[in-house]
Protein backbone atom coordinates (compact mmCIF):
# COMPACT_ATOMS: atom_id res chain seq x y z
CA UNK A 1 0.00 0.00 0.00
CA UNK A 2 1.23 3.43 -0.86
CA UNK A 3 -0.42 6.78 -0.28
CA UNK A 4 -1.07 8.90 -3.33
CA UNK A 5 0.46 12.36 -3.15
CA UNK A 6 -0.86 13.56 -6.51
CA UNK A 7 -2.61 12.02 -9.49
CA UNK A 8 -3.45 14.40 -12.28
CA UNK A 9 -4.00 14.48 -15.99
CA UNK A 10 -1.04 15.96 -17.85
CA UNK A 11 -2.41 15.53 -21.35
CA UNK A 12 -5.58 13.98 -22.79
CA UNK A 13 -5.67 10.40 -21.49
CA UNK A 14 -2.26 10.67 -19.82
CA UNK A 15 -1.91 10.77 -16.05
CA UNK A 16 0.94 11.33 -13.67
CA UNK A 17 0.74 9.74 -10.24
CA UNK A 18 3.16 10.32 -7.39
CA UNK A 19 3.06 8.05 -4.37
CA UNK A 20 5.01 7.79 -1.14
CA UNK A 21 7.77 5.22 -1.45
CA UNK A 22 11.27 4.75 -0.16
CA UNK A 23 13.74 2.10 -1.28
CA UNK A 24 16.15 1.30 -4.06
CA UNK A 25 14.62 2.03 -7.42
CA UNK A 26 16.51 1.84 -10.70
CA UNK A 27 15.51 3.46 -13.98
CA UNK A 28 13.78 0.92 -16.21
CA UNK A 29 12.25 -0.99 -13.34
CA UNK A 30 8.52 -1.21 -12.87
CA UNK A 31 5.90 -1.76 -10.20
CA UNK A 32 2.73 -3.84 -10.23
CA UNK A 33 -0.15 -1.53 -9.35
CA UNK A 34 -3.67 -2.25 -8.22
CA UNK A 35 -6.48 -0.33 -6.57
CA UNK A 36 -9.24 -2.89 -6.94
CA UNK A 37 -10.20 -6.31 -5.70
CA UNK A 38 -11.16 -8.84 -8.40
CA UNK A 39 -12.34 -6.69 -11.29
CA UNK A 40 -9.95 -6.62 -13.02
CA UNK A 41 -8.16 -9.59 -11.53
CA UNK A 42 -4.52 -8.79 -12.18
CA UNK A 43 -2.27 -5.93 -11.18
CA UNK A 44 -0.91 -3.63 -13.86
CA UNK A 45 2.80 -3.21 -14.65
CA UNK A 46 3.77 0.47 -14.76
CA UNK A 47 7.32 1.76 -15.17
CA UNK A 48 9.04 4.14 -12.86
CA UNK A 49 8.78 7.56 -14.45
CA UNK A 50 10.75 9.29 -11.75
CA UNK A 51 11.98 8.62 -8.27
CA UNK A 52 13.51 10.46 -5.38
CA UNK A 53 13.46 8.87 -1.94
CA UNK A 54 9.94 9.28 -0.60
CA UNK A 55 8.45 10.13 -3.99
CA UNK A 56 7.80 7.62 -6.72
CA UNK A 57 6.20 8.83 -9.92
CA UNK A 58 4.35 6.95 -12.65
CA UNK A 59 3.26 8.31 -16.02
CA UNK A 60 0.51 6.27 -17.56
CA UNK A 61 -1.95 6.20 -20.37
CA UNK A 62 -5.57 5.29 -19.80
CA UNK A 63 -6.26 2.39 -22.16
CA UNK A 64 -8.61 0.05 -20.32
CA UNK A 65 -10.27 -0.88 -17.09
CA UNK A 66 -7.21 -0.94 -14.85
CA UNK A 67 -5.76 2.37 -15.91
CA UNK A 68 -9.24 3.92 -15.79
CA UNK A 69 -9.51 3.00 -12.13
CA UNK A 70 -6.02 4.33 -11.45
CA UNK A 71 -6.96 7.60 -13.12
CA UNK A 72 -9.89 8.10 -10.76
CA UNK A 73 -7.77 7.90 -7.62
CA UNK A 74 -7.17 11.03 -5.65
CA UNK A 75 -4.63 12.52 -3.30
CA UNK A 76 -4.68 10.60 -0.04
CA UNK A 77 -6.13 7.42 -1.56
CA UNK A 78 -4.23 4.17 -1.22
CA UNK A 79 -2.83 2.24 -4.13
CA UNK A 80 -1.20 -1.16 -3.79
CA UNK A 81 2.23 -1.19 -5.38
CA UNK A 82 4.56 -4.16 -5.55
CA UNK A 83 8.11 -3.71 -6.65
CA UNK A 84 10.41 -2.47 -7.87
CA UNK A 85 10.62 -5.38 -10.30
CA UNK A 86 12.70 -6.08 -13.37
CA UNK A 87 16.33 -5.59 -14.22
CA UNK A 88 16.21 -1.91 -15.11
CA UNK A 89 18.64 -0.21 -17.45
CA UNK A 90 22.29 -1.05 -16.98
CA UNK A 91 24.73 1.62 -15.90
CA UNK A 92 25.53 3.71 -18.95
CA UNK A 93 28.79 5.62 -19.15
CA UNK A 94 28.98 6.38 -22.86
CA UNK A 95 26.96 9.18 -24.39
CA UNK A 96 23.28 8.42 -24.32
CA UNK A 97 20.69 8.58 -27.06
CA UNK A 98 17.15 7.72 -26.03
CA UNK A 99 14.32 7.12 -28.45
CA UNK A 100 10.84 7.12 -26.97
CA UNK A 101 7.48 6.69 -28.59
CA UNK A 102 4.23 7.73 -26.92
CA UNK A 103 3.79 6.37 -23.42
CA UNK A 104 7.08 4.53 -24.00
CA UNK A 105 8.70 7.79 -22.99
CA UNK A 106 7.57 7.14 -19.41
CA UNK A 107 10.58 5.17 -18.14
CA UNK A 108 13.06 7.26 -20.12
CA UNK A 109 12.71 10.37 -18.01
CA UNK A 110 14.13 8.80 -14.87
CA UNK A 111 16.81 7.18 -17.01
CA UNK A 112 17.92 10.51 -18.42
CA UNK A 113 17.77 12.29 -15.09
CA UNK A 114 19.77 9.54 -13.46
CA UNK A 115 22.28 9.44 -16.33
CA UNK A 116 22.86 13.15 -16.07
CA UNK A 117 23.36 12.90 -12.33
CA UNK A 118 25.85 10.08 -12.71
CA UNK A 119 27.59 11.46 -15.81
CA UNK A 120 27.66 15.22 -15.39
CA UNK A 121 29.81 15.57 -18.51
CA UNK A 122 28.09 12.91 -20.55
CA UNK A 123 26.04 13.97 -23.53
CA UNK A 124 22.43 12.97 -23.77
CA UNK A 125 20.19 13.35 -26.80
CA UNK A 126 16.51 12.55 -26.78
CA UNK A 127 14.14 11.66 -29.62
CA UNK A 128 10.45 11.77 -28.76
CA UNK A 129 7.71 10.61 -31.09
CA UNK A 130 3.98 11.07 -30.54
CA UNK A 131 0.98 10.18 -32.63
CA UNK A 132 -0.84 13.38 -31.72
CA UNK A 133 -0.52 15.57 -28.61
CA UNK A 134 2.99 15.37 -27.15
CA UNK A 135 3.58 15.45 -23.40
CA UNK A 136 6.51 15.66 -21.04
CA UNK A 137 8.70 17.28 -23.67
CA UNK A 138 9.77 20.27 -21.56
CA UNK A 139 10.85 17.98 -18.77
CA UNK A 140 13.26 16.29 -21.15
CA UNK A 141 14.36 19.65 -22.56
CA UNK A 142 15.31 20.77 -19.07
CA UNK A 143 17.67 17.80 -18.75
CA UNK A 144 18.95 16.74 -22.13
CA UNK A 145 21.48 18.30 -24.45
CA UNK A 146 19.15 17.99 -27.38
CA UNK A 147 15.53 17.01 -27.85
CA UNK A 148 14.12 16.06 -31.24
CA UNK A 149 10.34 15.96 -31.32
CA UNK A 150 8.18 14.33 -33.92
CA UNK A 151 4.41 14.40 -33.99
CA UNK A 152 2.40 12.22 -36.33
CA UNK A 153 5.42 11.03 -38.28
CA UNK A 154 7.95 8.27 -37.87
CA UNK A 155 10.60 9.21 -35.37
CA UNK A 156 13.19 6.85 -36.79
CA UNK A 157 13.19 8.89 -40.02
CA UNK A 158 14.85 11.67 -38.06
CA UNK A 159 17.14 9.42 -36.07
CA UNK A 160 20.89 9.63 -36.53
CA UNK A 161 23.17 8.11 -33.96
CA UNK A 162 26.83 8.83 -33.37
CA UNK A 163 29.35 6.02 -32.83
CA UNK A 164 29.93 6.87 -29.17
CA UNK A 165 26.30 6.77 -28.17
CA UNK A 166 24.51 4.00 -26.34
CA UNK A 167 20.94 3.85 -27.55
CA UNK A 168 17.94 3.11 -25.35
CA UNK A 169 14.49 2.78 -26.83
CA UNK A 170 11.03 2.26 -25.46
CA UNK A 171 7.76 2.55 -27.31
CA UNK A 172 5.58 0.65 -29.74
CA UNK A 173 7.19 -2.61 -30.80
CA UNK A 174 7.26 -1.54 -34.42
CA UNK A 175 9.23 1.57 -33.44
CA UNK A 176 11.70 -0.34 -31.30
CA UNK A 177 12.24 -2.85 -34.05
CA UNK A 178 12.89 -0.07 -36.50
CA UNK A 179 15.40 1.54 -34.11
CA UNK A 180 17.05 -1.82 -33.62
CA UNK A 181 17.38 -2.29 -37.36
CA UNK A 182 18.41 1.27 -38.19
CA UNK A 183 21.14 1.87 -35.67
CA UNK A 184 24.60 0.66 -36.64
CA UNK A 185 25.66 -2.69 -35.26
CA UNK A 186 28.59 -0.90 -33.60
CA UNK A 187 26.31 0.84 -31.12
CA UNK A 188 24.95 -0.77 -28.01
CA UNK A 189 21.16 -0.69 -28.17
CA UNK A 190 18.81 -1.51 -25.31
CA UNK A 191 15.11 -2.07 -25.77
CA UNK A 192 12.50 -2.11 -23.03
CA UNK A 193 9.80 -4.68 -23.79
CA UNK A 194 6.22 -5.13 -22.76
CA UNK A 195 4.26 -8.32 -22.21
CA UNK A 196 1.05 -9.26 -20.50
CA UNK A 197 1.98 -10.14 -16.95
CA UNK A 198 0.28 -12.01 -14.15
CA UNK A 199 2.81 -12.32 -11.32
CA UNK A 200 5.48 -9.78 -12.26
CA UNK A 201 8.11 -11.77 -10.38
CA UNK A 202 9.02 -14.71 -12.58
CA UNK A 203 6.68 -17.34 -11.20
CA UNK A 204 3.97 -17.78 -13.84
CA UNK A 205 6.01 -17.87 -17.05
CA UNK A 206 3.34 -15.83 -18.73
CA UNK A 207 5.48 -12.97 -19.97
CA UNK A 208 8.03 -15.03 -21.82
CA UNK A 209 9.80 -13.62 -24.84
CA UNK A 210 11.98 -15.60 -27.14
CA UNK A 211 15.61 -14.57 -27.20
CA UNK A 212 18.73 -15.86 -28.82
CA UNK A 213 19.58 -17.57 -25.55
CA UNK A 214 16.18 -19.22 -25.10
CA UNK A 215 13.05 -18.04 -23.35
CA UNK A 216 13.39 -15.08 -21.05
CA UNK A 217 10.88 -13.57 -18.68
CA UNK A 218 10.15 -9.96 -19.46
CA UNK A 219 9.29 -9.32 -15.81
CA UNK A 220 12.43 -10.74 -14.29
CA UNK A 221 15.13 -11.06 -16.94
CA UNK A 222 13.84 -7.85 -18.54
CA UNK A 223 12.06 -5.64 -19.31
CA UNK A 224 15.37 -4.28 -20.63
CA UNK A 225 17.17 -6.42 -23.20
CA UNK A 226 20.07 -5.97 -25.53
CA UNK A 227 18.79 -5.56 -29.06
CA UNK A 228 20.81 -8.58 -30.21
CA UNK A 229 18.99 -10.82 -27.81
CA UNK A 230 15.48 -10.07 -29.01
CA UNK A 231 15.53 -8.53 -32.46
CA UNK A 232 17.33 -10.53 -35.06
CA UNK A 233 18.86 -7.63 -36.89
Amino acid sequence: MAVILTNTSVSPGIFKMTVEFTGDVKPGQFFMLRAWDKDPLLSRPISVHDYTPGKLTFLYQVVGKGTEILARLQTGDDVTIQGPYGNGFPKITEDLCVVGGGIGTAPLYYLVRNYKAENPTGKCRVYLGFRDTPYGVEAFEALADEVVLDVGGIITHKLSVTPDETVVTCGPEIMMESVAKTVSAENTVYVSLEAHMACGIGACLGCTCETKSGNKKVCKDGPVFLREEVFYV
Binding site: L41, C204, G214, N215
Partner: protein, 301 residues
Amino acid sequence: MSKCLETKFNDILFKNPVIPASGTFGFGREYEAFYDLAKLGGLCSKGLTLEPKPGNKGMRLWETPAGLMNSIGLENPGIDAFIKTEWPHLKAIDTVTVINVGGKDEESYLTAIEKLNAIDAQLIELNISCPNVKAGGMAYGMKAETAGDITKKVVDISRHPIMVKLSPNGDSIADIALACEAAGAQGISLINTLQGMAIDYKKKKVVFDNLYAGLSGPAVKPIALRMTHQVCQTVKIPVMAMGGISDWQDALEFIMAGATCIQIGTINFNNPMAPIEIIEGLEAYCINEGLANIGEVRGIV
Protein backbone atom coordinates in the same frame (compact mmCIF):
# COMPACT_ATOMS: atom_id res chain seq x y z
CA MET B 1 1.62 -22.20 15.39
CA SER B 2 -1.00 -24.38 16.97
CA LYS B 3 -1.74 -27.84 15.66
CA CYS B 4 -5.31 -27.11 14.69
CA LEU B 5 -4.44 -27.08 11.00
CA GLU B 6 -2.28 -30.22 10.96
CA THR B 7 -3.60 -32.46 8.26
CA LYS B 8 -2.77 -35.98 7.21
CA PHE B 9 -3.03 -36.77 3.54
CA ASN B 10 -2.80 -40.55 3.84
CA ASP B 11 0.32 -40.82 5.98
CA ILE B 12 1.89 -37.60 4.81
CA LEU B 13 1.70 -34.97 7.51
CA PHE B 14 1.06 -31.40 6.32
CA LYS B 15 1.45 -28.72 8.97
CA ASN B 16 -1.55 -27.09 7.41
CA PRO B 17 -3.71 -27.96 4.40
CA VAL B 18 -2.65 -24.98 2.27
CA ILE B 19 -0.43 -25.59 -0.76
CA PRO B 20 0.34 -23.20 -3.63
CA ALA B 21 -0.74 -24.81 -6.92
CA SER B 22 1.42 -26.03 -9.75
CA GLY B 23 2.42 -23.45 -12.31
CA THR B 24 1.47 -20.49 -10.17
CA PHE B 25 4.40 -20.68 -7.81
CA GLY B 26 7.42 -21.48 -9.97
CA PHE B 27 9.70 -23.57 -7.78
CA GLY B 28 8.95 -21.33 -4.83
CA ARG B 29 12.01 -19.10 -5.00
CA GLU B 30 10.15 -16.00 -6.17
CA TYR B 31 7.85 -16.08 -3.16
CA GLU B 32 10.66 -16.28 -0.64
CA ALA B 33 10.83 -12.52 -0.89
CA PHE B 34 7.31 -12.38 0.57
CA TYR B 35 7.38 -14.96 3.33
CA ASP B 36 9.13 -18.01 4.75
CA LEU B 37 8.02 -20.97 2.65
CA ALA B 38 8.23 -23.20 5.71
CA LYS B 39 4.96 -21.61 6.80
CA LEU B 40 3.17 -23.40 3.99
CA GLY B 41 1.57 -26.79 4.35
CA GLY B 42 3.40 -27.67 1.19
CA LEU B 43 4.12 -26.37 -2.23
CA CYS B 44 3.68 -27.77 -5.66
CA SER B 45 6.29 -27.56 -8.40
CA LYS B 46 5.70 -26.18 -11.87
CA GLY B 47 4.58 -29.01 -14.16
CA LEU B 48 7.66 -31.02 -15.12
CA THR B 49 8.16 -33.14 -18.19
CA LEU B 50 10.87 -35.60 -19.10
CA GLU B 51 12.46 -33.29 -21.63
CA PRO B 52 12.85 -29.54 -21.19
CA LYS B 53 9.96 -27.72 -22.86
CA PRO B 54 9.99 -24.16 -24.17
CA GLY B 55 6.23 -23.85 -23.79
CA ASN B 56 3.84 -22.20 -26.19
CA LYS B 57 4.55 -19.30 -28.48
CA GLY B 58 2.48 -16.15 -28.78
CA MET B 59 0.27 -14.63 -26.14
CA ARG B 60 0.26 -16.65 -22.93
CA LEU B 61 -2.00 -14.68 -20.61
CA TRP B 62 -5.40 -13.09 -21.06
CA GLU B 63 -7.52 -11.64 -18.33
CA THR B 64 -11.24 -12.41 -18.16
CA PRO B 65 -13.94 -11.31 -15.70
CA ALA B 66 -12.68 -12.63 -12.33
CA GLY B 67 -10.55 -15.10 -14.25
CA LEU B 68 -7.28 -15.63 -16.05
CA MET B 69 -6.64 -17.62 -19.18
CA ASN B 70 -3.21 -19.07 -19.67
CA SER B 71 -1.45 -20.90 -22.41
CA ILE B 72 1.96 -21.48 -20.88
CA GLY B 73 2.22 -24.92 -22.40
CA LEU B 74 4.23 -26.54 -19.62
CA GLU B 75 7.41 -24.55 -20.12
CA ASN B 76 9.88 -26.26 -17.78
CA PRO B 77 13.53 -27.26 -17.55
CA GLY B 78 12.88 -31.01 -17.68
CA ILE B 79 13.17 -33.57 -14.90
CA ASP B 80 16.96 -33.87 -14.97
CA ALA B 81 17.59 -30.18 -14.66
CA PHE B 82 14.92 -29.97 -11.98
CA ILE B 83 16.58 -32.65 -9.91
CA LYS B 84 19.91 -30.98 -10.31
CA THR B 85 19.12 -27.31 -9.84
CA GLU B 86 15.79 -27.03 -8.04
CA TRP B 87 15.37 -30.10 -5.89
CA PRO B 88 18.26 -29.47 -3.48
CA HIS B 89 16.78 -26.09 -2.69
CA LEU B 90 13.22 -27.38 -2.38
CA LYS B 91 14.23 -30.36 -0.28
CA ALA B 92 15.81 -28.07 2.27
CA ILE B 93 12.57 -26.22 2.93
CA ASP B 94 10.72 -27.54 5.94
CA THR B 95 7.49 -28.26 4.09
CA VAL B 96 6.04 -30.92 1.81
CA THR B 97 7.01 -30.55 -1.83
CA VAL B 98 4.54 -31.99 -4.29
CA ILE B 99 6.09 -32.73 -7.66
CA ASN B 100 3.80 -32.12 -10.64
CA VAL B 101 4.55 -34.30 -13.65
CA GLY B 102 3.13 -34.00 -17.15
CA GLY B 103 3.81 -36.02 -20.24
CA LYS B 104 3.14 -36.34 -23.91
CA ASP B 105 2.81 -40.10 -24.07
CA GLU B 106 3.03 -43.17 -21.88
CA GLU B 107 6.72 -43.53 -22.27
CA SER B 108 7.49 -39.96 -21.31
CA TYR B 109 5.32 -40.25 -18.22
CA LEU B 110 6.93 -43.49 -17.15
CA THR B 111 10.49 -42.42 -17.74
CA ALA B 112 9.86 -39.21 -15.83
CA ILE B 113 8.40 -41.15 -12.93
CA GLU B 114 11.36 -43.53 -12.91
CA LYS B 115 13.78 -40.66 -12.73
CA LEU B 116 11.87 -39.23 -9.79
CA ASN B 117 12.27 -42.55 -7.99
CA ALA B 118 15.85 -41.43 -7.43
CA ILE B 119 14.87 -38.58 -5.12
CA ASP B 120 13.11 -38.55 -1.79
CA ALA B 121 9.92 -36.85 -2.83
CA GLN B 122 6.81 -37.27 -0.70
CA LEU B 123 4.03 -36.95 -3.23
CA ILE B 124 3.73 -36.82 -6.98
CA GLU B 125 0.88 -35.01 -8.69
CA LEU B 126 0.25 -36.72 -11.98
CA ASN B 127 -0.97 -34.08 -14.38
CA ILE B 128 -3.25 -35.68 -16.95
CA SER B 129 -5.22 -32.53 -17.42
CA CYS B 130 -3.18 -29.72 -18.93
CA PRO B 131 -5.35 -28.22 -21.68
CA ASN B 132 -2.44 -26.35 -23.20
CA VAL B 133 -0.33 -28.99 -24.84
CA LYS B 134 -1.51 -30.74 -27.93
CA ALA B 135 0.07 -34.14 -27.60
CA GLY B 136 -0.78 -35.79 -24.33
CA GLY B 137 -1.69 -34.22 -21.05
CA MET B 138 -5.40 -33.64 -21.16
CA ALA B 139 -5.94 -36.42 -23.70
CA TYR B 140 -5.49 -38.93 -20.87
CA GLY B 141 -7.68 -37.02 -18.51
CA MET B 142 -10.86 -36.80 -20.58
CA LYS B 143 -12.08 -40.36 -20.15
CA ALA B 144 -12.18 -42.72 -17.20
CA GLU B 145 -10.60 -45.54 -19.13
CA THR B 146 -7.48 -43.75 -20.33
CA ALA B 147 -7.10 -41.99 -17.00
CA GLY B 148 -7.24 -45.30 -15.15
CA ASP B 149 -4.78 -46.89 -17.61
CA ILE B 150 -2.04 -44.35 -17.27
CA THR B 151 -2.56 -44.14 -13.52
CA LYS B 152 -2.10 -47.87 -13.14
CA LYS B 153 1.10 -47.89 -15.15
CA VAL B 154 2.52 -44.98 -13.22
CA VAL B 155 1.53 -46.35 -9.82
CA ASP B 156 3.14 -49.66 -10.69
CA ILE B 157 6.57 -48.20 -11.23
CA SER B 158 6.59 -45.25 -8.84
CA ARG B 159 8.07 -45.61 -5.40
CA HIS B 160 6.25 -42.42 -4.42
CA PRO B 161 2.54 -42.06 -3.81
CA ILE B 162 0.65 -40.78 -6.84
CA MET B 163 -2.05 -38.15 -6.67
CA VAL B 164 -3.82 -37.76 -10.03
CA LYS B 165 -4.78 -34.26 -11.13
CA LEU B 166 -8.06 -34.28 -12.99
CA SER B 167 -9.42 -32.18 -15.79
CA PRO B 168 -12.80 -30.46 -15.56
CA ASN B 169 -13.17 -30.68 -19.33
CA GLY B 170 -13.87 -34.33 -19.90
CA ASP B 171 -16.45 -36.90 -18.97
CA SER B 172 -18.02 -37.10 -15.53
CA ILE B 173 -15.25 -36.19 -13.13
CA ALA B 174 -16.50 -38.56 -10.44
CA ASP B 175 -16.23 -41.47 -12.88
CA ILE B 176 -12.70 -40.50 -13.78
CA ALA B 177 -11.74 -40.16 -10.11
CA LEU B 178 -13.16 -43.57 -9.43
CA ALA B 179 -11.16 -45.10 -12.25
CA CYS B 180 -7.97 -43.54 -10.89
CA GLU B 181 -8.72 -44.79 -7.41
CA ALA B 182 -9.31 -48.28 -8.76
CA ALA B 183 -6.01 -48.04 -10.61
CA GLY B 184 -4.17 -47.43 -7.36
CA ALA B 185 -3.97 -43.66 -7.09
CA GLN B 186 -3.34 -42.59 -3.50
CA GLY B 187 -5.03 -39.23 -3.94
CA ILE B 188 -6.93 -37.00 -6.35
CA SER B 189 -6.33 -33.37 -7.03
CA LEU B 190 -8.72 -31.14 -8.94
CA ILE B 191 -9.44 -29.03 -10.86
CA ASN B 192 -6.99 -28.14 -13.55
CA THR B 193 -8.01 -25.22 -15.75
CA LEU B 194 -11.23 -25.13 -17.74
CA GLN B 195 -10.82 -24.95 -21.46
CA GLY B 196 -11.79 -21.55 -22.73
CA MET B 197 -11.29 -19.32 -25.73
CA ALA B 198 -10.41 -15.68 -26.23
CA ILE B 199 -10.85 -13.61 -29.36
CA ASP B 200 -9.26 -10.24 -29.94
CA TYR B 201 -12.08 -8.56 -31.82
CA LYS B 202 -9.88 -5.63 -32.78
CA LYS B 203 -7.45 -7.93 -34.54
CA LYS B 204 -10.24 -10.27 -35.71
CA LYS B 205 -8.04 -13.12 -34.46
CA VAL B 206 -7.96 -15.71 -31.76
CA VAL B 207 -5.73 -14.60 -28.90
CA PHE B 208 -3.84 -17.83 -28.31
CA ASP B 209 -1.66 -19.56 -30.90
CA ASN B 210 -2.94 -22.81 -29.47
CA LEU B 211 -6.57 -21.75 -30.16
CA TYR B 212 -7.98 -22.62 -26.74
CA ALA B 213 -6.43 -22.01 -23.32
CA GLY B 214 -7.01 -22.74 -19.66
CA LEU B 215 -9.29 -20.67 -17.46
CA SER B 216 -8.62 -20.35 -13.73
CA GLY B 217 -9.25 -17.93 -10.90
CA PRO B 218 -12.27 -16.86 -8.82
CA ALA B 219 -14.59 -17.15 -11.84
CA VAL B 220 -14.33 -20.95 -11.79
CA LYS B 221 -14.83 -21.46 -8.07
CA PRO B 222 -18.47 -22.60 -8.13
CA ILE B 223 -17.64 -25.24 -10.74
CA ALA B 224 -14.54 -26.41 -8.88
CA LEU B 225 -16.48 -26.64 -5.63
CA ARG B 226 -19.19 -28.73 -7.27
CA MET B 227 -16.63 -31.09 -8.78
CA THR B 228 -14.76 -31.36 -5.50
CA HIS B 229 -17.98 -32.30 -3.77
CA GLN B 230 -18.83 -34.87 -6.44
CA VAL B 231 -15.42 -36.49 -6.22
CA CYS B 232 -15.30 -36.45 -2.41
CA GLN B 233 -18.68 -38.17 -2.36
CA THR B 234 -17.34 -40.84 -4.68
CA VAL B 235 -13.81 -41.84 -3.73
CA LYS B 236 -12.25 -42.86 -0.42
CA ILE B 237 -8.75 -41.60 -1.15
CA PRO B 238 -8.00 -38.05 -0.03
CA VAL B 239 -8.65 -35.08 -2.29
CA MET B 240 -6.59 -31.95 -2.75
CA ALA B 241 -8.94 -29.35 -4.16
CA MET B 242 -8.44 -26.11 -5.99
CA GLY B 243 -10.04 -23.73 -8.42
CA GLY B 244 -10.59 -20.07 -7.69
CA ILE B 245 -9.79 -20.12 -4.00
CA SER B 246 -9.01 -16.56 -3.01
CA ASP B 247 -9.49 -16.33 0.73
CA TRP B 248 -9.88 -18.50 3.81
CA GLN B 249 -13.64 -18.58 3.44
CA ASP B 250 -13.27 -20.13 0.00
CA ALA B 251 -10.71 -22.58 1.35
CA LEU B 252 -13.04 -23.54 4.17
CA GLU B 253 -15.88 -24.19 1.73
CA PHE B 254 -13.72 -26.67 -0.17
CA ILE B 255 -12.83 -28.39 3.08
CA MET B 256 -16.51 -28.51 4.03
CA ALA B 257 -17.14 -30.07 0.62
CA GLY B 258 -14.74 -32.82 1.62
CA ALA B 259 -11.26 -31.75 0.52
CA THR B 260 -8.36 -32.84 2.71
CA CYS B 261 -5.99 -30.17 1.44
CA ILE B 262 -6.49 -27.18 -0.80
CA GLN B 263 -4.27 -25.56 -3.39
CA ILE B 264 -3.94 -21.88 -4.10
CA GLY B 265 -3.36 -20.90 -7.71
CA THR B 266 -4.19 -17.77 -9.63
CA ILE B 267 -4.83 -15.63 -6.58
CA ASN B 268 -1.08 -15.72 -5.84
CA PHE B 269 -0.71 -13.28 -8.74
CA ASN B 270 -3.33 -10.98 -7.36
CA ASN B 271 -2.05 -11.21 -3.79
CA PRO B 272 1.29 -12.90 -3.15
CA MET B 273 0.46 -13.18 0.54
CA ALA B 274 -2.74 -15.11 -0.15
CA PRO B 275 -1.54 -18.54 1.08
CA ILE B 276 -0.36 -17.09 4.37
CA GLU B 277 -3.53 -15.06 4.85
CA ILE B 278 -5.53 -18.20 4.18
CA ILE B 279 -3.55 -20.20 6.74
CA GLU B 280 -4.03 -17.46 9.31
CA GLY B 281 -7.70 -17.16 8.48
CA LEU B 282 -8.30 -20.88 8.88
CA GLU B 283 -6.42 -20.88 12.15
CA ALA B 284 -8.50 -18.02 13.50
CA TYR B 285 -11.61 -19.85 12.36
CA CYS B 286 -10.62 -22.95 14.33
CA ILE B 287 -10.01 -20.87 17.41
CA ASN B 288 -13.25 -18.91 17.09
CA GLU B 289 -15.28 -22.03 16.46
CA GLY B 290 -13.51 -24.01 19.16
CA LEU B 291 -12.27 -26.66 16.75
CA ALA B 292 -9.35 -28.77 17.93
CA ASN B 293 -8.62 -29.48 14.30
CA ILE B 294 -9.93 -28.19 11.00
CA GLY B 295 -10.74 -31.80 10.13
CA GLU B 296 -13.84 -31.50 12.30
CA VAL B 297 -15.63 -29.57 9.59
CA ARG B 298 -14.27 -31.60 6.69
CA GLY B 299 -17.04 -32.95 4.51
CA ILE B 300 -19.82 -31.72 6.78
CA VAL B 301 -22.08 -30.62 3.94
